[in-house]
Amino acid sequence: MDSSPPEVLATKVRRDAWVLGAAVGAFGVSFGVLATTAGLSVPQACVMSLAVFTGASQFAVVSVLATGGTLASALGSAMLLAARNAAYGVALAPTLAHRRLGRRLLAAQLVIDESTAMSTAQSGRRAREQAFWVTGIAVFVCWNLGTLAGAVAGDAIGDPEAFGLDAAFPAGFVALLVPHLRTRAGRVAAGAGAVIALVLIPLAPAGVPIVAAASAVLPALLFAPSRAREGARA
């Protein structure tokens, strides 16, 4: 993959980004349906997707509200899930550091799972930045159009889980993980991250297992110190 000319890689990244966007859009539809059945109005569902724009947090809010949870617990779980975006922002900062403040303020809204994963899977700052913007924009457009369609159509639309679209996300993350496994530090971080999340699933509220997995970078540095620098670049 790295041996291909830059323009070939750029085309591939654009295609992959919109494939990811289409899967996210289908989930946006189901979010719109769930949000309106949980008591949000159509404008509220759409504003949430535009303003909050971090899918897992939004699903957490409406699913807690739909099952009769308090607003405080709904917002609390959403914030725990959103906390990882701060970590993503740290990882993306070197890629966008040369841009003006206005551009970076705009970029901040696009700091999510998909844009971070696609960006950090590339090598070289230009390729990383291009992957960040194209993925962020594709996901933003598809997620918001999907939310609008789902909120308007309500229960008329079938369950996207019937088509296995919920399995599309972990599959995409598996593919995006591969470049991070080239270094020993990356492999240690990946293994520890998976174990931490798996162990915490029954022990901690939703969102915590993912945030806690961030601590897997510590054993990666301890057990593979000399290779860690490569890990930061891969």
């Binding site: 303003a51 901040a108 593919a175 993980l177 991250g193 997995a213």
Partner: protein, 100 residues
């Protein structure tokens, strides 16, 4: 849900993203902090895979999503294109649900 709570959540979610990108990230320039940040995706991606595949309502769940994950791992191992990996996993999980 009130508009105030909704907009408050939007502001808080944006603040978290911006804090990483504009405040914490640039200060972590060079050294260990940057190395740690570079390793974050390696740690968080498998966590997202595990939670999206095996998590139920605060319990482990083994269902059709696991079949999709096995297919995704096999296709990734065979160096299949991204589109094929994602579509293959979705088709496998959807297929199992259709049969079950």
């Amino acid at each position: 849900m009130s508009w105030a709570a909704l907009l408050g959540l939007g502001v808080a979610a944006y603040a978290l993203k911006a804090a990483g990108l504009l405040v914490l990230g640039p200060r972590a320039s060079g050294g260990t902090a940057l190395r740690l940040a570079g390793l974050l995706p390696a740690a968080l991606l498998p966590a997202l895979v595990v939670v999206n595949t095996f998590a139920g309502d605060r319990r482990w769940v083994l269902d059709a999503r696991a079949v999709g994950l096995v297919v995704a791992l096999a296709l990734t191992w065979r160096r299949a294109p991204f589109v094929v990996i994602v579509a293959g996993a979705a088709a496998a999980t959807g297929g199992v649900r259709l049969l079950g």
